[in-house]
C-alpha cells in the first residue's frame, strides 16, 4: 500500500470516528450514573439540525456547535424530566426521545435541505503536521477532532481521579447507599444526562457543520445507536471507546475507499454500507457472550428508576 493512501485512510477513519467518540463518551457518563438514555440518535439529529441552522444564519461554526450543544441539553432535559422526575421506564423514554428527535429534526430542517455550508478550515498542529505518514493523518484536522481527544482524557480523569467522578460512579453502582450518605441522586443523574445530551448534540453538530457539511433528513443514520453499542463494547471504560470508535469509523469509510480506489470488486454498494451495522452486531456478540464481563463492568443500577421516597 502506498504511504499516501495509508495516510488518507487513517485520516478518514479518525474523522468518521470522531462523532462516535463524542456521543459515546457523553452516553458513558450518563450510564455511569445509572441512567440508560437510548435517545442518542434523536439528540444527535436535533444537535445536527440546530447547529446547521445557526451556522447558516450566523456564518459561525462555533456558534453552530454551541447551538448543537444547547439543543442536545434541551433534549437531555426532556428525557430527564420523564425518566428521573416522572420515573418513567428509561428504555421507553429513550425510544420516545429518539422517535421525537428524528421527527422534529426533519420537521425543523426541511427549509435547510437544499443549502450547503463552506467547509470549515482545518487546524494544523505546528511542526507535527509536517511529519511523514502520521502528520496528515493525525495533525491536520478540524478543531472538533482534537476536542474529542481532550474530551476522552478529561472524562477519564473526571471519572477515576476526581471526587465528583467518584460520587457519580457511586450513584450508578449503589444509589440507595449514595442517597443515605446525603448525595442527591436525582440531581447528580440530571447533570449526567444533561452532559450526555450536550455531547450528543456536539456530535450531531460535527456531522452537519464539519463532516459533510450539509443537512439531510436522517443523516445521523444510526450513529447514535452505534454510539450506544460502543459503550457496551468499551465495557464502560473511556479509553476503549476510542478503539471502538475508530474501528467503526474504519467500517464506515470502506465504501468510500473501495469505490474511490478504482478496484472493480463486484460488491453492491449496499453491502458495503451495511458493514458498520453488521460490525456493531458482531462486536456486541463478542463482548456480551461472556456474561461476567457485562455484569462486572456495567453500572449496577443501570436503567432502574430511583425514588428518594422508597
Amino acid at each position: 500500500m502506498q504511504p499516501s493512501l495509508l495516510s488518507a485512510i487513517l485520516f478518514a477513519t479518525i474523522v468518521a470516528g470522531t462523532p462516535l467518540i463524542i456521543a459515546a463518551v457523553g452516553e458513558l457518563v450518563t450510564e455511569k450514573s445509572g441512567v440508560l438514555n437510548l435517545g442518542t440518535e434523536g439528540i444527535m439529529s436535533m444537535g445536527a439540525v440546530a447547529a446547521f441552522a445557526v451556522t447558516v444564519h450566523t456564518g459561525s461554526p462555533v456558534l453552530g456547535i454551541l447551538a448543537g450543544m444547547t439543543a442536545g441539553m434541551a433534549m437531555g432535559l426532556v428525557f430527564a424530566v420523564a425518566a428521573l422526575t416522572f420515573m418513567a421506564n428509561q428504555v421507553a423514554s429513550g425510544l420516545a426521545l429518539s422517535i421525537f428527535g428524528v421527527g422534529l429534526s426533519a420537521f425543523i430542517g426541511k427549509p435547510y435541505e437544499s443549502q450547503a455550508l463552506p467547509s470549515v478550515a482545518t487546524w494544523n498542529v505546528p511542526g507535527l503536521h509536517k511529519l511523514p505518514l502520521v502528520g496528515h493523518a493525525f495533525f491536520e484536522h478540524q478543531g472538533l477532532v482534537y476536542f474529542s481527544w481532550a474530551l476522552l482524557a478529561a472524562v477519564a480523569w473526571f471519572l477515576y481521579r476526581s471526587r465528583l467522578g467518584l460520587v457519580l460512579r457511586a450513584v450508578g453502582e449503589a444509589p440507595v447507599a449514595a442517597h443515605s450518605v446525603g448525595y442527591n441522586v436525582v440531581r447528580i443523574r440530571y447533570m449526567a444526562v444533561l452532559f450526555g445530551g450536550a455531547m450528543a448534540g456536539v456530535a450531531g453538530a460535527f456531522l452537519s457543520v464539519f463532516h459533510t457539511p450539509l443537512w439531510v433528513e436522517g443523516m445521523v443514520a444510526g450513529r447514535g445507536w452505534i454510539a450506544l453499542a460502543l459503550v457496551v463494547f468499551a465495557t464502560w471504560r473511556p479509553a476503549r471507546v476510542m478503539v471502538g470508535a475508530y474501528l467503526f469509523g474504519g467500517c464506515m469509510i470502506t465504501q468510500m475507499f473501495v469505490q474511490g480506489s478504482g478496484m472493480h470488486l463486484n460488491i453492491p454498494s449496499q453491502f458495503l454500507s451495511a458493514l458498520p451495522y453488521a460490525a456493531t452486531i458482531i462486536v456486541l456478540v463478542i463482548i456480551s457472550h461472556n456474561k461476567a464481563t457485562i455484569r462486572l463492568n456495567s453500572p449496577a443500577s443501570l436503567g432502574q428508576p430511583f425514588s428518594p421516597e422508597a
Binding site: A88, S93, L95, F107, E217, Q270, F271, A278
Partner: protein, 352 residues
C-alpha cells in the same frame, strides 16, 4: 413551591385507563401550541390535522387502511413487551416479510392460483420471524442486547430492499426506477369497499387482535410471559423458561410485522419499492404502549396513530408544513403517556 410524588398504597386502576387519554389531550394541546408558534391558527390546524382526514367515506377507509399494519405490528410487539422483550426492530421484520411475500409474488407472476396470496402471507410471517430470530438467537445464545441488535437489523433490512429494487428484482420495463414490477391481481388483497383502498388486510389485523387477546389472557404461555415481564424472579422460581420467553416474544413480533409487510405490498403499494413503510414498525411501538399492551386498547390507539399519519398528509397539503410533523406528534404522544403513567403508582403532593 415544588411538586412531589407520593406513592399510592395501591396502583390506581382508574389512572391506568385515564393516563392514555390524558396523554392524547396533552398531545393535542401541544400540537395547537405548535401550530400557533408556526403562525397558523390553532383552530384551523386542529381541523386540518384531526378532522379533515375523516370527513368522508374515503377518509375513514384510509384510516382503517393505515391502521392495518400498525395494529398488526403492535399486537406482535405487545406480546414481547409484556415479557420485557424489547424488540424495537419491527420495521426491519416488516421489510423482510415484505421481501419474502413479494419474492413469491414476483416468482409466480403468471400463476392463476388462488393460493398465491395466502402463500405470500405465510411467507411474510416466516420472513419476519427469520429476521426476528437473529436477535432472539444472539440474545439467548450470546447474551447480546436485543434492543441494539434488532435495531441494527432495521438498517440492514433497508439496505437489502434497496439492493434488490436497484438490482436483481428491478422491473425490466420500469425505465430504471428502483422498484419491482407491479403485482398481478392474484397477488393483491381484495378491496372491501368499492371506491376506497381499504382491503382484506384489515380482517387479518382484526383476527390478530382476537388471537392476541386469547394468547395474552387465556393461554398458559401468555401468563408465563406476563409473569416473566412483571416479576422475573417469580417466573424463574416457577420454572418458566427465560429463553422461551425471549424466543416467543421475538418470533410473534416478527411474524406479525412480516404479515404487515405483505399487507402493504399486496395492498396500497402493489409492488416492492424503497418506500414500503413510513416507519410503521417504529410507530407501532407507540401504538402498543398507548394501547396499554392490550388488544382492545391497541385497536383504538392504532386508529389514533393512523389519524396522525393522515393528519400529517393533510397538514402538508393545506398548511404547507413538512410531513414529518406526524412524527413530532407521535413522539410527543409517547412522552406524555410515559409521564402520565406516574399517576398510576403515585399522586402529586405540593410541597412548600
Amino acid at each position: 413551591m415544588w411538586l412531589k410524588f407520593e406513592q399510592r398504597p395501591e396502583p390506581s386502576r382508574l389512572m391506568r385507563y385515564l393516563s392514555p387519554l390524558l396523554a392524547v389531550g396533552l398531545m393535542v394541546a401541544s400540537g395547537m401550541l405548535l401550530f400557533h408558534l408556526l403562525g397558523k391558527s390553532p383552530a384551523e390546524g386542529f381541523k386540518v390535522f384531526f378532522l379533515n382526514p375523516v370527513q368522508d367515506k374515503y377518509g375513514v377507509a384510509e384510516l382503517f387502511l393505515k391502521a392495518t399494519p400498525l395494529i398488526l405490528c403492535a399486537v406482535g410487539l405487545a406480546v414481547g413487551f409484556r415479557g420485557n422483550i424489547w424488540n424495537i426492530g419491527a420495521e426491519g421484520q416488516l421489510l423482510i416479510g415484505a421481501l419474502a411475500g413479494g419474492g413469491l409474488a414476483l416468482h409466480f407472476h403468471d400463476t392463476n392460483s388462488m393460493l398465491l396470496l395466502p402463500a405470500m402471507i405465510v411467507a411474510g410471517a416466516l420472513g419476519g420471524m427469520f429476521w426476528a430470530a437473529i436477535p432472539a438467537w444472539l440474545r439467548t445464545r450470546f447474551n447480546a442486547n436485543e434492543i441494539l441488535t434488532s435495531l441494527m437489523l432495521v438498517y440492514i433490512a433497508e439496505l437489502i430492499v434497496s439492493w434488490l429494487v436497484h438490482g436483481p428484482w428491478m422491473d425490466p420495463d420500469g425505465f430504471n426506477f428502483p422498484q419491482t414490477r407491479l403485482f398481478q391481481a392474484k397477488a393483491t388483497m381484495p378491496i372491501l369497499v368499492q371506491g376506497t383502498r381499504v382491503n382484506a388486510g384489515l380482517f387479518i389485523a382484526l383476527g390478530a387482535l382476537i388471537a392476541g387477546w386469547i394468547f395474552m389472557n387465556r393461554s398458559f404461555m401468555g401468563y408465563q410471559m406476563k409473569v416473566a415481564g412483571q416479576a422475573e424472579n417469580a417466573g424463574r422460581y416457577a420454572g418458566f423458561s427465560a429463553r422461551r420467553t425471549v424466543w416467543i416474544g421475538m418470533l410473534v413480533g416478527g411474524a406479525m410485522a412480516g404479515i404487515a409487510g405483505v399487507a402493504e405490498i399486496s395492498g396500497p403499494v402493489g409492488q416492492i419499492t424503497e418506500h414500503i413503510s413510513p416507519g410503521y414498525g417504529f410507530a407501532a411501538m407507540i401504538v402498543a404502549f398507548v394501547g396499554r399492551l392490550d388488544p382492545v386498547g391497541i385497536f383504538f390507539s392504532g386508529l389514533l396513530m393512523a389519524l396522525l399519519y393522515l393528519g400529517g398528509e393533510q397538514a402538508q397539503q393545506y398548511l404547507a408544513l413538512p410531513y414529518s410533523i406526524s412524527k413530532v406528534f407521535q413522539g410527543l404522544l409517547l412522552f406524555f403517556l410515559l409521564c402520565s403513567d406516574v399517576f398510576i403508582t403515585h399522586r402529586i403532593r405540593w410541597k412548600k
